[in-house]
Symmetry: C2
Subunit: 293 residues, 2 copies
């Protein structure tokens, strides 16, 4: 069975097209990698490369991409709205098919060692990090690039790979493995943000809702609608249909209908399995591998 | 945008594994072809090769596969339960992505000419055939291999390509283009076949149901259930959710529930779009291209 791993590489350059293209060419120098998305954001001054393929090839492509980005990007000159601490800022490896999170962690660690040998301090996060206090990306990146030199002097914030001293040009990189994310928004036929906030409370983990849902309510000014914007961080354990049906019935309490929904960015095929199970009772003998495109 | 064409090649050999493997090797001699399924059936004495890829490469792979099958299979010795008239029996080309039925018809005709030059009589069917009376596969194949020699003497049944005379070893081949098929079964919590037959009447084209549904009711003896077994021949115009909801409500009339459903064989990703639209109101801005696996 073919194994598929995805990588989502965030680099700190989103305005210099020539530079982004050079980095892209380094990525494409590995055959058989399927590029899903390359998204440069000028305000963030950041580009996200999303691609997938055979895990060993994805690792090789990520090494080449990262080496080129570290060569070309000078963090001493970087400005942008998005939080960041390095030229190659964050690199999650995401198991897609016939691959475990544990295997993805191993790839992340091989990538981390490679970067360390290039002289870049590396922090592991999420499942690749054993120390609880430094598992989350926001905690590792707190203070951003500007605070990194001081932070690294703290014993608690010694990097997992690479030099123990600050590297001004590259900054530091965070890498690890995580489950594929689903970004799911539900637009409600109301302009009452309070209703949206009450509904959010019923679904998000922090307020007693579903364990794997992060959610906020926001107003879509141009549409007179309120949106429940969600990150589903484990669609297997907290599936799409459950969240949809819960929001539908909670909204009904306020006589509000769902107008429509949005799946944003790349969506793993396997996240749709439960929609087929729940709504059209697809039998257990069905395999998502039967689906082609 | 990458174009994807699928081919489903039915050859008249399903018991001689060595022979099937030789034919498979001819197929695999073309790089970058993705094999979806190879299904040999001993009772039918027939093998179906399903694969997809770049249309020109699919054509080339199909030529090589067909040439090898024609070289190895002798129809004068063929026995099997499935209707057939040739060593390479039926070859539909199926547009999958960024490809039109018209373009698929053109590929089918280039394949037909190739077979004709090899000395095999070829009939076009479905969208590749202009004469109404010989558009359908069952009509072309009526009488099967055994009746072919006589049939070809009739002016109405002269082949579209190749020799006008019977070729005893190869028989004749039918090729053309068709929309991707979805095989969808709905299992009902009843052992009453009459109820199944009434429900079938409400959905199948021949009895006033949906235009693109062919359906039969049959008893699943081992499960005490009745199955509505369907071929959906155009999932865009007659979508999955409409058929499911209609059968659900018709069954309800007889106090029968749907137990589960089956999607059989390869399922085109795009056939799932309407399930997302109908059940979770996915917005028009969503593209199935966002889905990865």
């Amino acid at each position: 069975m073919d194994k598929v791993l995805m990588a989502e590489v965030n680099i700190s350059e989103g305005t210099n097209i020539d530079l982004v293209n050079e980095v892209k060419e380094a990525l494409l120098s590995v055959d058989s990698i399927e590029v899903i998305d390359i998204d440069s954001n000028g305000d963030h001054n950041r580009t996200v490369f999303t691609y997938k393929g055979n895990p060993e090839l994805v690792l090789e492509a990520t090494k080449r991409l990262a080496k080129k980005a570290i060569e070309l990007i000078d963090m001493t000159k970087h400005k942008g709205q998005h939080p960041r601490m390095g030229a190659v800022d964050v690199v999650p490896f995401i198991p897609v098919k016939n691959y475990t999170t544990e295997e993805a962690v191993e790839i992340a660690k091989r990538f981390g060692k490679f970067l360390g040998e290039l002289g870049v301090p590396v922090y592991y996060y999420e499942d690749a990090q054993e120390k609880e206090y430094r598992k989350s990306l926001p905690k590792i990146r707190k203070g951003q690039y500007e605070a990194l030199e001081e932070k690294m002097k703290d014993e608690k914030w010694q990097p997992d790979e690479g030099p123990k001293d600050f590297n001004a040009k590259s900054g530091a990189t965070v890498t690890g493995a995580r489950f594929p994310l689903v970004a799911f928004n539900i637009n409600l036929e109301t302009d009452n943000l309070e209703i949206g906030k009450k509904i959010v409370k019923s679904v998000r983990a922090a307020t007693g809702g579903f364990t794997y849902i992060r959610a906020i309510a926001l107003k879509l000014e141009d549409k007179n609608q309120v949106q429940v914007s969600m990150n589903m961080v484990n669609y297997e354990k907290t599936p799409i249909h459950g969240v949809y049906e819960t929001i539908k019935s909670e909204a009904n309490r306020y006589n509000v209908h769902i107008h429509d929904t949005e799946l944003v960015g790349p969506v793993p095929l396997y996240a749709l399995r439960d929609v087929l199970d729940f709504y059209i009772k697809i039998s257990n003998t069905f395999s998502m591998d039967q689906i082609y495109s």
